[in-house]
């Protein structure tokens, strides 16, 4: 039996029919390999209004798209997640709970100034989460893991987009080609993780995107052992760069982000007003 703390999620399922669930390549690879499901069985690509680090395109002038978990039937925010299992008495349960995406695993928490807080937009019933529950160490682990997997995914996406951009005029790739690319890259990244082992990976995750105060890792006084994530990112980028050898190595978005955005907060609309004011935040 699991020793995991009892959560109010249990058989609630409200969030599973209230959001579009964003997924990255790691989420897709994990679900696909564990459930033996072709990604196209549970993934949809939807257009984004503007470009961001996780948006990919399938042709030079094509839409910027992102990936999300499919819904039952037609894709619409308020529909049930494709993996939601409806039990009796109005109870519902995630059908892939053990392999659910990072966005689900971390919901309804976010990291603000390195503290775990409940998102302002969460749909959980009032007082569902006790103060003690918000302090479970597993939140931080999951939030850090999600940061890490999305940062690596941004590198993966950047390489794909560069590949598309240098393809002959008029080339349009099917979504399957992009998903195949993801499965291949993450299969190799999975081997990297297996070689490292869980203990080393936990160290990588724990200080993910942390930098010295002055932000300069090239400074000789910096002890690089304190920043194992940089070594990991470099190894991951080497693997990613093995795909599409004709494409030049791309600038590391994760490193840029870490350097430029130390202490970056989640979007304002996710921060409760009292937390925002107590932190003296502006904007």
């Amino acid at each position: 039996m699991s020793d995991a703390p009892t959560t109010p999620c249990g058989t609630c399922g409200i969030c599973c029919r209230s959001y579009v669930v964003p997924v990255n390549g790691y989420d897709i690879w994990l679900i696909s390999t564990r459930e033996r499901l072709n990604p196209e069985e549970f993934i949809v690509a939807y257009p984004l209004p503007k470009k961001n680090a996780e948006s990919f395109h399938l042709s030079k002038d094509g839409f910027n798209c992102a990936l999300a978990l499919a819904k039952k039937g037609e894709f619409a925010i308020e529909r049930d997640c494709t993996f939601l299992v409806q039990l009796g008495g109005g109870h519902a349960r995630c059908g892939i709970y053990e392999h659910r995406p990072g966005a689900c695993r971390t919901y309804p928490m976010t990291l603000f100034r390195n503290a775990v807080i409940q998102r302002k937009d969460s749909r959980c019933p009032p007082n569902a989460w006790s103060e003690e529950a918000k302090r479970w160490p597993s939140w931080r682990v999951s939030l850090k893991r999600m940061d890490m997997t999305f940062d690596v995914y941004h590198e993966v996406v950047a390489r794909w987009n560069a590949r598309v951009d240098q393809s002959p005029e008029g080339t349009t790739y099917p979504l399957t080609t992009y998903l195949n690319y993801l499965m291949n890259v993450y299969d190799r990244l999975g081997q990297l993780d297996a070689q490292l082992g869980e203990e080393a990976l936990a160290r990588v995750r724990e200080n993910w995107a942390a930098l010295p105060e002055h932000g300069d890792l090239s400074d000789e006084s910096v002890n690089h052992d304190q920043y194992p994530w940089v070594t990991y990112l470099s190894a991951a980028r080497e693997i990613i760069d093995e795909f599409y050898p004709d494409v030049a190595s791309q600038v590391s978005i994760a490193l840029l982000r870490a350097t430029a955005n130390q202490g970056t907060d989640p979007p304002r609309h996710l921060i409760p007003d009292d937390v925002w004011e107590a932190a003296g935040a502006k904007g």
Partner: protein, 208 residues
Amino acid sequence: MSVGTMSRKEDLWLACKPKTCCYVATVIPTGRDVWRISRTLQAPPWTFLRYFESPEPRRDAFALDGSDRRFRLALAKQPSRRKKTPPPCIFLMRTNGGHHRCSLGDLRPASCRSFPSEVTQGGVLCLNPIGCTCHEWNLSDVDVAQERALVETRQQDGAEYAAIVARWNVRVAAASDDARFDLPAYCAFLLGAYDALAAGAPLEPSRE
């Protein structure tokens, strides 16, 4: 991030698109199955179970009143609008592309895990029962030692459950003549009994 190796049987089962067995079969869980699923999913047993009257005496058949009527548990089915197809198991997921997956995974009942095998005359047999349309099973599909262990676990869990059912039936028989119990009451008894076993309490012998 690595994916553990799966047995050939698990591979075949996961790769099966229609999961016809999850439509056709009525899955009879043991109390241990019910306890494991309920405690892990944090879901009350009555949200995923139904019960039906047993036409003949069975060691896993429980009473709900002082009469001779006995009932058995089954995994509930999803509502279905298709008249010609039996309704799917309540835990069966279906993607928009028609692929089916069991949402219980490793939590699934012992009878599902050991399907379609039996141990007869000391030997493991792969049966080809009605309901499996994806594959003709034979011993080359399974690890025989592993399959034997799965069937034996199912049998042991069945014997353990029979002893617990017998205790319940004694309790019902000892209640007043007009006492009636419902499914949630029986499920609460089951969970308590298996919680006690998990805490190290001995399994009391049947007194029915």
